[in-house]
Subunit: 225 residues, 2 copies
């Protein structure tokens, strides 16, 4: 009998990469799942996903293309008429919120989990030290877990695991170092694909994590040496 399987939602950012390493460390045979959803940095994120999968010597992985998010728009990540903010993190739900993104990601992950006979889905949501997205909370994930187990076959009993949900960005950097996560292969910037901008919310949260952990981020930033 093979190892138990887990679907790992892996954007290629720091959080989801650590999350996948934790799943592997938990003893799972991991099946990484990436979404290209028309986000402005989708090429770079896909590259990060593939680099990380290569590093992990993954054979079975899913690259799912759901361009309809671009048609829906209404988010600075997918809508060319809305700029990615670079003036610092504000309170409330930011314009980078993509409507019900994690609901859609978890639903698709569920379909793949049923096909692959996986036992768990790992998702690297962070509740505390995050951008204020409503689809990143413990409460939301628990509701989704119930919906998923109600709406699938009787013998499908999926666990949704969120090992990062209560971590700070500092914790994430430190834990990544402990687990030998190749943070230099990950990509967080919402805005740029060559050198990270250093100014969008995602770059700010990442840089804050490295700074607090007193570790140097090896990726290149525009204008930061």
């Amino acid at each position: 009998m093979g190892k138990k399987r887990a679907i790992c939602i892996l954007s290629g950012g720091m959080d989801s990469t650590l999350c996948s390493y934790i799943a592997k460390n938990d003893g799972y045979d991991i099946i990484p799942l990436h979404f290209s959803y028309g986000q402005k940095t989708q090429k770079r994120e896909l590259q990060a996903f593939r680099d990380i999968c290569s590093k992990l010597k993954i054979e079975n992985k899913y690259e799912i293309n759901i361009p309809f998010f671009k048609d829906i728009g209404a988010s600075a990540l997918t809508d060319n008429s809305i700029d990615v903010p670079i003036n610092g993190i504000k309170k409330g739900v930011p314009v980078t919120y993509v409507p019900f993104r994690n609901g859609i990601f978890l639903s698709i992950a569920t379909a793949i989990a049923e096909k692959e006979n996986a036992k768990s889905i790992y998702i690297g949501v962070i509740q505390e030290d995050s951008s204020g997205y409503p689809d990143c909370t413990n409460k939301f994930i628990n509701h989704m877990k119930q919906s998923i187990n109600e709406g699938t076959k009787k013998n499908t009993n999926l666990d949704i695991l969120t090992p990062l949900v209560n971590l700070s960005k500092e914790d994430i950097v430190k834990k990544s170092i402990l687990l030998n996560v190749p943070l230099e292969l990950t990509w967080s910037c919402y805005k740029k694909q060559k050198k990270a901008c250093g100014l969008c919310d995602s770059c700010r949260l990442r840089l804050k994590g490295f700074k607090k952990a007193s570790i140097k981020d090896k990726i290149e930033y525009k204008g930061i040496k």
Copy 2:
């Protein structure tokens, strides 16, 4: 101020078409939403969707393409290596079950509802007189409603309406006649796209409904006059 809006998931079958007519009858400005998910009859279903939208003089509608279901496979509706059964309805979850399809459809409908400031999502699931899909029950829909309202913006308060959930196929035919639903434009067959096969579960349920309602189905069936 305009009318309140509802997203109506509309496959182009009998149930979803009646459901959209009910939403209109309930006073909503309806926004029909169709999915092409790699199902074997997707061209014919899309045509039915468009015919019904034309009949309803709809301007704002969504046709969403999610071909990844074909890559996932594991269902007779999307996987060419699994035949659509034609030997009668069996107990339990049939091979035409598409993993967590309604979970995915409702999640995407939610994203569109947030963008469109819709108040409700209508979905034509049937619990009793149906094919035994786990994602068609009242309990599942109620869980999804909670998940959706937990995982979206605070001012997004979506209702998920299932006016058909306790109806029989006979009720559906009768109610359709009452509301002038153009049943002749709808398509139910899982297998064929020119003349309906009359033998798959979906054709059998449809034909049973018409027979019990003592009404003639105007669409053409292969080998049935």
